[in-house]
């Protein structure tokens, strides 16, 4: 089998009930995700309860649920893959997924990463309302449509671009794009992530990062913010991490460089198959030189979650790590924790 690189989806990839079929069923995933929730304190109990559908305090598309749950699911899936004895040669996260990559690479400890994450969430919860759009066009073709505070938020591929802005400005850009026959899809987000409107949020979020002794990465990370491997100086700069809320994501260029080097089996460690589908548009995958393997189904469902995981685990000879019988999960613990 080819060398492995891990991909981590970020903002927009969250889904209601994502990966819950693995909870209490895949031991490493369960243990790790519980430890992440544990580090989130009292709020962690509420986040877990919302995730499992035990209650519905806050919607999954709200930043207070989307970001902590994406981090928790991505990270727990990654740790599970590592427990199979897989040693990835590179890590690449999209948007909030880069925090997961950095945690695995030792830039942050898990506890520190959770603090950074919660700092971002607190700042963003008070941030501007807005949203994101996916447009089937190159970023250059969209520049003349960008008015108000709307900006290019992500370059995912040659003809896959995301825009972000505050509600009114974004609506106006959306209307003009549709009038000119562009194909546009709303991305589930309630804030204008990766746009200048998030500037004050980024500055607020920086306070949580500044208190942390940032370390150089011990593994190769391709940064979606530069499109290049993450350097030691960047990794140690609090500004680099706080700017991730305002700066655009160059996932496409980062993926290009990652795939240019070697033949790879990409494993998407997160909900859905967004990054896998982006990757499958890449020449290196269409030619069969590299491949992308999602750990999750397109739409979450307990049985589908397990089947998707079993298919990958089997390829790595790791099915023995999965529990034959479900681990009992005490629902009382969540209820009492509220």
């Amino acid at each position: 089998m080819a060398e492995v690189a891990l991909l981590f989806p970020g903002q927009g990839a969250q889904q209601r009930g994502m990966a819950t079929g693995l909870y209490g069923w895949a031991p490493v995933f369960t243990k790790v995700i519980d430890s992440v929730f544990g580090l989130m304190g009292t709020e962690g109990k509420r986040i877990r309860a919302d995730w499992l559908g035990i209650c519905s305090l806050i919607d999954i598309d709200d930043v207070r649920r989307a970001q902590p749950l994406l981090f928790a699911v991505d990270y727990a899936l990654a740790r599970m893959v590592l427990s199979w004895g897989v040693t990835p040669v590179a890590l690449l996260g999209h948007s909030a997924g880069e925090l997961v990559a950095a945690t695995l690479a030792g830039v942050f400890t898990l506890e520190e990463a959770v603090r950074v994450l919660l700092g971002r969430v607190r700042a963003a919860a008070n941030g501007p309302e807005g949203g994101m759009l996916a447009v089937a066009a190159g970023a250059d073709d969209l520049l003349r449509y960008l008015t108000g505070d709307v900006a290019v938020a992500a370059v995912n591929g040659p003809r896959q671009t995301m825009l972000a802005g505050t509600t009114e400005h974004l609506r106006s850009v959306d209307e003009r794009l549709r009038a000119d026959d562009f194909t546009v899809r709303a991305v589930p987000a309630r804030n204008p992530f990766h746009s200048p409107a998030m500037g004050p949020v980024g500055r607020e979020a920086k306070r949580a990062v500044e208190k942390i002794p940032l370390r150089a990465p011990e593994s190769l990370i391709y940064s979606g913010y530069t499109g290049f491997p993450l350097g030691a100086a960047e990794a140690r700069d609090p500004e680099f991490w706080s700017r991730q809320l305002t700066d655009p994501v160059y996932f496409g260029p980062a993926l290009d460089r990652l795939l240019a080097r070697r033949e790879l089996s990409l494993i998407e460690a997160g909900p859905g198959q967004t990054l896998t589908t982006f990757a499958r548009r890449h020449r290196a995958l269409r030619s069969g030189r590299s491949e992308s393997i999602p750990l999750s189904p397109v739409h979450p469902d307990h049985e589908a979650d397990r089947q998707a995981l079993l298919a990958v685990a089997d390829r790595f000879g790791a099915s023995e790590n999965l529990a034959a019988t479900p681990i009992p999960v005490s629902e009382a613990a969540f209820v009492n924790g509220r």
Binding site: A136, D181, T183, R185, T277, A279, R280, R281, R283, R286
Partner: protein
């Protein structure tokens, strides 16, 4: 109205991919999942818009989530063309 053929769909899929993409031929392609071929919902929406412009056949954007394979894509288009 005449039906959209698999060959015509392959041309649309290639245009969407933006280069000389060689899709598997014939019945093999019909039941492959779009996600396995690199087509996400945005790409499917764009292909539906293309069909609407070129053939005048409109399928609602809401149907996109249910279109998982080229076979279903053709069924939806041709059902809409028959109405």
């Amino acid at each position: 109205m005449r039906e959209l053929t698999l060959e015509e769909l392959v041309v649309i899929m290639r245009e969407n991919m933006g280069d000389e993409y060689t899709a598997p031929h014939g019945t093999e392609l019909l039941d492959m999942e779009f996600t396995a071929l690199g087509y996400d919902s945005l790409a499917l929406l764009e292909m539906l818009a293309h069909v609407k412009r070129k053939y005048g056949i409109a399928v609602s954007d809401d149907e996109v989530e249910g279109i998982q394979t080229p076979r279903v894509f053709l069924e939806k288009i041709n059902a809409a063309a028959g109405n």
